[in-house]
């Protein structure tokens, strides 16, 4: 490394140290790291809830104590019901997401790359998008029956649009200056897509996949509430029918945990694919 490069790097390190000094002088006397601040209120609410439920200020069949909900989940885990329901819901989400995201990827790529395909397809898809997706449920039930396929179709529909939209828009807006670099090196259309367009749209595409996955979870709840004999949504309906609030609240918790888990897997995969790049 020549002295020139060392000079280039110095200012950045210097500013980093400067910032460090600033934050140190700013620190107040109460030392609570920022990441713990967000926990204070939820934990407070849980403690108050537990206390009020134990004192029977809250009616126990409407507002069961957090420990009672935990116990319900634990019992289901022991007798195996939990794994059955979580498993089937997870399978529906994953399958529906794969179908919807694949279609979204295909159509998004085609409309993003070929202007003619966009002019033909985009108006139709955009108008379909403005239909609230739950409105399709009666039609799906009529066409596909009450079994799995109608549920998968509904979840796929939810996952489709964010993936389609993000990919299509991102492909249209790839920096033409970078595409020109590909032209200079005489890349074929295929190489252009593989070496320039795909890596360029990857960040937006991953955002689309993540929101598609989020919507898949939203739609699995709808699908299972509307008629299912298994799954976390079914547990909720069952809890409502039999008047057991602990099961409903437990199911809410299960949805939250499962949704978060799949999102974490997705974002970790995305981060790995994106590597060290920042834009």
């Amino acid at each position: 490394m020549s002295t020139a490069e060392q000079n280039h790097r110095l200012p950045r390190e210097a500013t980093a140290q400067g910032l460090d000094l600033c934050t140190q002088t700013k620190k107040s006397s109460v030392e609570i790291p920022d990441r713990f601040l967000g926990w204070i209120i939820p934990i407070g609410i849980l403690l108050a809830w537990e206390l009020l439920a134990r004192l029977e200020v809250l009616p126990p069949n409407w507002f069961p104590a957090p420990t009672a909900i935990a116990k319900t989940i634990y019992e289901m885990a022991v007798n195996g019901d939990l794994w059955k329901h979580v498993g089937i819901t997870m399978a529906r989400v994953v399958l529906g997401f794969l179908v919807g995201a694949s279609l979204g990827t295909l159509l998004g790529a085609v409309t993003g790359y070929f202007p003619i395909a966009r002019k033909l397809l985009d108006p139709l898809l955009q108008s379909l998008r403005s239909v609230p997706s739950i409105a399709w449920v009666p039609l799906f039930l009529l066409w596909l029956g009450i079994q799995e396929s109608s549920k998968i179709a509904l979840i796929s529909l939810g996952a489709f649009f964010p993936v389609y939209l993000n990919l299509s828009v991102a492909m249209r807006h790839v920096d033409s200056k970078l595409l020109e670099v590909g032209k200079l090196y005489r890349l074929s259309s295929f190489e252009m897509v593989r070496r320039l367009i795909l890596p360029a749209v990857l960040p937006e595409y991953i955002v689309g996949l993540r929101s598609g996955l989020g919507l898949a979870w939203m739609f699995v709840v709808a699908a299972e509430l509307l008629g299912a004999s298994s799954g976390i949504g079914y547990l909720m309906v069952d809890g409502q029918m039999t008047g057991r609030a602990a099961i409903i609240l437990g199911s809410v918790l299960l949805f939250a945990v499962c949704g978060k888990a799949t999102d974490w897997v997705m974002s970790a995969t995305g981060a790995k694919l994106l590597g060290h790049r920042t834009r």
Partner: protein, 274 residues
């Protein structure tokens, strides 16, 4: 500073050992007319351009904005193919981009998802991976950034990014290196250092260099010939041979005189037009 010179000499020796690349090529530029279609009819960007650039020559094209100097460079690069006229490189007509012309833009245009090394090797997919790596390393050595080969573009300063862009353009073994205001977005000190660097690279590689700039001092400092263009329509106003010996001294009397002459002509013309 003496240490720096020594390093440069080592690099020059390394470079002269590499004879796998073609030396500079002769460019014959003959553009009768280049128009752009606009909303208010067509606009003539270039008219009656005739210029021959010798093998190994360093030519700077200067002109104000809108004089078509960038368009001219893009035509030579093969990025603009709709025009009346023809470009020949060593007697062969040019119909589109090719590796025999390396291009450096005002922005570095490095791919943000590739490392410095991968960026330099980007256009070399026809070579085996060993040859590709050797080429990339050779040109990173030439621009003095070998130790940064694993970094990503966002980790580099503006001057370093532009040096990587130069290495990428050279890696294809071009006969002609085309640079479009390559140092315009750099600070004054970095720009002067990059000009030195470019001269060193040119002397080592013996490629033909065409550099577009709006900086007259830069043009007079670097070029064998300075081509002055004027706008509406873009055409060649004058060509100044610069016979000053190298290394040139910017504060030298003769240097100042030439720079002033080019500047006067430039402004006299601009004022007449407006």
């Amino acid at each position: 500073m003496p240490a720096r010179v020594a390093i440069d000499e080592v690099r020059l020796n390394e470079v002269t050992q590499d004879d796998s690349c073609n030396k500079g090529g002769t460019l014959d530029i003959a553009i009768a007319r280049k128009t752009f279609a606009g909303s208010q009819g067509s606009l003539t960007a270039l008219s009656d351009i005739s210029l021959t650039i010798d093998a190994g020559e360093f030519v700077c094209i200067v002109g104000g904005s809108g004089c078509g100097k960038t368009t001219l460079l893009r035509i030579v690069a093969g990025l603009e193919t709709e025009y009346e006229g023809s470009i020949h490189l060593d007697g062969h007509q040019i119909f589109g981009p090719d590796l025999n012309r390396g291009v450096v833009f005002q922005e570095h245009r490095l791919l943000p998802w590739l490392t410095v090394h991968e960026n330099v090797a980007f256009g070399l997919s026809r070579l085996s991976s060993a040859e590709r790596a050797a080429k990339a390393e050779h040109y990173l050595d030439l621009v003095g950034l070998r130790s940064f080969e694993r970094e990503y573009p966002h980790q580099l300063s503006g001057g370093m990014s532009q040096r990587v862009a130069i290495a990428r353009a050279l890696a294809g073994c071009p006969e002609v290196l085309l640079l479009d205001e390559p140092f315009a977005s750099l600070d004054a000190l970095t720009r002067i250092r990059m000009q030195e660097e470019l001269l060193r690279i040119w002397q080592a590689e013996r490629t033909t260099v065409v550099l577009v700039t709006h900086d007259i001092e830069e043009a007079v400092y670097l070029a064998n010939r300075v081509v002055v263009m004027s706008p509406l329509p873009g055409t060649i106003r004058n060509i100044w041979p610069i016979d000053l010996p190298r290394p040139r001294e910017r504060t030298d009397h003769e240097f100042s005189r030439i720079r002033r002459a080019v500047l006067d002509e430039f402004f006299a013309h601009t004022l007449n037009k407006s």
